[in-house]
């Protein structure tokens, strides 16, 4: 097997696995940059995956090949609404952000599996007939070498993820909205003094994270698993959180980390068919994202620091 052939398998597969992580990690950034820790990303992905699959199964005859894309929108709305629970608890009710996030995760799995049994009368949904499938990107696919590696046998969602990441970077670092979002997460009192509505910004941060988390879950379900069951989302949300931290709460950093974690995940699955990776036991690839994140936090790979006010409550008038 030549290097070219290996790359033609590994690159699209890496991007496929990375896309859901990129979306969800970006969601985490919006929430944490506003100062709300979001452990509930996993649950938001579950909600996204569930609503996308249900929408897809129900309306596939009406919308045809447009269905998976509409399902993404539905999933974003559903998860954004669901994330309001986390916002209300951790901002208005002053709940511990981590505890509220844990509740979100438990609630998401509970509600979705309950609904699956209610709607389909069994433990998992059927398989969707129209998911995201492999495509060749027109024009770009004809570029020599690069076209073959990056733009053939690939998925639209992978490129959407990269575009959204760049867009998120622009929003967070180049717009007044982004500046406000970050200021609320670094020093809410100073932001409040300057007339920024801390509560509103934090609500927005959490709701955007809900929408992006739902998008991540929907992409995962429609491109990788093709149905919804209790094991559809198993740890993707936490891995996205790891990507966010490893990327130092920066959209492009998180994207890079997510792509790397996507690589580790895809290698752990397709690695056995590649010549030089056969020898490495799977377990190293499986734990790589988590171990690397711990090392990054410890400061061995450049120190990662959370936004200053992340995880704290802002109570007007207190010092």
């Amino acid at each position: 097997m030549s290097l070219m052939e290996i790359l033609m398998i590994v690159v699209p597969s890496t991007l496929l696995w990375a896309a859901p992580l990129v979306f969800t990690a970006l969601g985490g950034i919006f929430s944490e940059r506003s100062g709300v820790v979001n452990i509930g990303l996993e649950g938001l992905m579950v909600i996204g995956a569930f609503s996308a699959i249900v929408f897809n199964l129900t309306f596939v005859n009406t919308f045809g090949s447009l269905t998976p894309w509409l399902a993404l929108l539905v999933a974003m709305v559903a998860a954004a609404i669901f994330s309001i629970l986390h916002a209300v608890a951790s901002i208005t009710f002053r709940a511990d952000h981590t505890v509220s996030g844990v509740a979100i995760n438990l609630l998401a799995t509970g509600i979705t599996l309950f609904l699956v049994k209610l709607i389909y009368d069994k433990g998992e949904t059927g398989i969707i007939s129209k998911g995201f499938s492999k495509i060749d990107i027109p024009i770009l696919k004809d570029i020599p070498i690069i076209g073959k590696i990056f733009f053939q046998n690939t998925y639209w969602t992978s490129f959407l993820a990269i575009v959204v990441a760049i867009f998120a970077w622009y929003i967070v670092f180049k717009t007044p909205f982004g500046l406000r979002l970050r200021s609320v997460g670094e020093h809410p009192m100073a932001a409040d003094t300057m007339g920024i509505n801390v509560t509103k910004m934090r609500y927005l941060g959490v709701i955007i994270s809900g929408a992006l988390g739902g998008l991540g879950g929907a992409v995962y379900a429609q491109s990788i698993t093709s149905n919804f069951s209790h094991s559809t989302i198993s740890g993707q949300g936490f891995m996205a959180m790891a990507a966010m931290i490893f990327g130092k709460w920066h959209p492009l950093g998180a994207m890079g980390a997510a792509i790397f974690f996507g690589f580790a995940q895809s290698i752990s699955i397709i690695g056995s068919s590649l010549p030089f990776l056969k020898e490495i036991p799977n377990v190293y690839l499986l734990i790589a994202p988590y171990v690397l994140t711990i090392l990054a936090l410890t400061g061995f790979i450049g120190r990662a620091d959370a936004p200053k006010a992340s995880g704290t409550h802002y109570i007007k008038g207190s010092r």
């Binding site: 009710f93 981590t98 505890v99 799995t109 509970g110 209610l118």
Partner: protein, 352 residues
């Protein structure tokens, strides 16, 4: 109400209100989805206490819940959030079964050794986040979450490649290392009840004694209340942080031994988490992070989980409803600030 509510009263009434709210919302969900809540709750009750077999299963489920709850609660009292109970639990389970399978020893040595192995394994697993927190100020929540996944994959690997020869399940632990008891099983119509419940209760007493009756416990709590004050008083904050994680991990590992040596008697390759560690968070929160509170809330959650299995059979309601109720209880306990504000308003109105 003429007398303003005391804080002690409020700290007891708040979790009860949270549970009631959880059940209330659960009822509303059932009504909306067209189920009969009365049938569902009576099925739940029958499934937990209706027959002696179910009762035995409830106690069996309560056993790891108590220990997982203690593992969260103990760290919480020292100001740490141990979200890594699941991982410590898996590693403890693995270690107990490993010792239980690999050695041939008299019961009096083998069983304690297997239990000890689970405690040490869980403690070591929790030592890492404790050390990183103390030495590098890395937030323990993130590290313990990451360690959960490492634990899952590493234990799967060890089961598949080291303990067994490419199998998904280990052998049963030797009779000399088991916590199972024919007598307890026959007493409860052959449920999986085992001796572990005694160990769990000892765990509760141990945590209470350690925290409330010893100097070290005073230090640990002092660090939990105010690190700076504790430091100023000459206590080593770092040592206490590590110690608390190690003890919490020991409890979690022990919870794993309950499953490995008691309920199942073996360890398997797992596709995902068992959920015991996360339920432990719910148990500890509802129990107000005290050992007595953990004991009672473990009974509540154990009964809910076991009783739920009867709901689809008797009332046709999916058992996931109970998971929703548990999640809601966590949610309401977390939001107890709001409940307290409401209680304050109520008691103030009474005074006027």
């Amino acid at each position: 109400m003429n007398i303003p509510m005391s804080n002690r009263f409020k700290s007891i009434i708040t979790p009860i209100i949270a549970v009631l709210l959880g059940i209330l919302v659960g009822t509303i969900i059932m009504l909306i989805s067209g189920y009969n809540p009365i049938a569902a709750y009576s099925a739940l009750w029958n499934g937990a206490f209706g027959e002696i077999y179910y009762f035995g299963e409830v106690i069996r489920q309560v056993t790891p819940y108590i220990l997982a709850g203690l593992a969260v609660a103990f760290a919480f009292r020292v100001g740490l959030f141990n979200i890594g109970v699941e991982g410590q639990f898996l590693i403890g389970w693995l270690a107990a079964v490993w010792v239980g399978v690999a050695f041939d020893l008299p019961r009096i040595i083998h069983l304690p050794l297997a239990i000890l192995a689970s405690i040490v394994a869980g403690a070591l697993w929790a030592f890492i986040p404790g050390l990183l927190k103390a030495r590098f100020r890395v937030h323990e929540v993130i590290v313990t979450i990451m360690m959960n996944y490492v634990a899952l994959h590493v234990s799967n690997y060890i089961i598949k490649n080291i303990i067994t020869d490419n199998k998904d399940k280990t052998d049963l632990v030797k009779n000399s290392a088991t916590l199972r008891s024919e007598w307890l099983q026959s007493l409860t119509d052959y449920s999986r009840l085992h001796w572990g419940i005694i160990i769990a209760i000892i765990g509760c007493i141990l945590m209470w004694f350690l925290l409330e009756r010893t100097t070290k416990g005073f230090e640990l709590r002092a660090v939990g209340f105010n690190q700076h004050a504790a430091h100023y008083a000459g206590m080593s904050v770092n040592k206490n942080i590590i110690l608390s994680m190690v003890i919490a991990g020991g409890f979690a590992g022990l919870a794993g031994a309950m499953e490995g040596l008691g309920t199942f008697g073996y360890d398997t390759v797992k596709g995902g988490f068992t959920g015991v560690g996360f339920d432990g968070i719910a148990v500890a929160l509802l129990g107000g992070n005290t050992s007595l509170g953990v004991f009672f809330s473990a009974i509540l959650f154990g009964a809910l989980k076991v009783g739920a299995l009867n709901m689809p059979l008797e009332a046709g309601v999916p058992n996931e409803l109970v998971d929703i109720i548990i999640a809601l209880i966590v949610f309401f306990v977390a939001s107890s600030y709001m409940i307290r504000v409401l209680l304050d308003r109520l008691s103030k109105k009474g005074v006027k």
